[in-house]
């Protein structure tokens, strides 16, 4: 499914094209996904799933800063933005958007859990979601001017300020 989208461009992609490449009939695709947007939404979520655990440097601030910078890099890239939009659509119940958010929360959980195990004080996962993930994602989608790695770092510094 990756190939047809990149070969012909997303706007020209059709279900028959995907079916042909997969060696199935279009009705097989329609039966599973209903329409192209739902299929693209599922593909997008799969592409947004982290493939590795976050880096472990032994320091909460360093780990969370590295993670936030990478998250911004990936999500703000043209393909990241396209995946986010696809994930938000073709999925009226919001399940795919929820999965994207769960991926981020799980990575943060790992980072905070390691820090807590070392005896460091940590904010809660939902606090990091509200004050690091949310500003980054909101700005990617709605307010991209001035969004850069320095902003990601300062959001992390701020959310950790109360714990240090």
């Amino acid at each position: 499914m990756r190939e047809p989208a990149s070969e012909v461009g997303r706007d020209a992609l059709t279900v028959p094209m995907v079916a042909q490449r997969a060696g199935v009939t279009p009705s097989t695709v329609y039966r599973r996904w209903g329409d192209l947007q739902e299929l693209l939404s599922d593909v997008a979520v799969e592409r947004l799933r982290p493939e590795t655990a976050p880096e472990d440097t032994g320091d909460l601030r360093a780990d969370l800063t590295t993670w936030a910078e990478q998250f911004l890099d990936e999500m703000a890239s043209p393909s990241g933005r396209a995946y986010i939009r696809d994930a938000l659509l073709g999925d009226p119940d919001g399940g795919n958007a929820g999965r994207c958010s769960a991926y981020a929360a799980e990575q943060i959980d790992v980072i905070l859990g390691r820090a807590a195990a070392r005896g460091e004080r940590t904010p809660g996962t939902e606090t990091v979601v509200d004050h690091v993930v949310a500003p980054l994602m909101y700005r990617i989608l709605f307010r991209p001017d001035g969004l850069d790695a320095a902003r990601a770092r300062s959001l992390v510094a701020l959310v950790l300020a109360d714990t240090e």
Copy 2:
């Protein structure tokens, strides 16, 4: 344009339908908007534009809390969510999403400007965007569980904590 969408439902709406209701030919609509998604995106932004200045109670915390609760109410409603999605789409350069964000920032500017004029200490507009608007919008789109007025109030309390 409001009527056809609500009469037939968004998914069944077509450009010829909109053109007929507006008393123009479909080519007039295509010339201005390119496709239905771009038209719906422009309609969505228009519907998301605030119609009045934010309430003025003479107190920063009260004004910002009231504004955040109303913002959440409007954006989290089924029609609000549909408008946000439409505004994000059919607009590859992100201009309509930027307009949505600018509307929120302008309302916050008014509230903070009034407070500053009264001699109150205030956070910056971008700080309120990052720590009140962004968490609300992120959760509406990606993580709606547990999102309620109490969360809006606590986000406002937190962003004002450093200024009080």
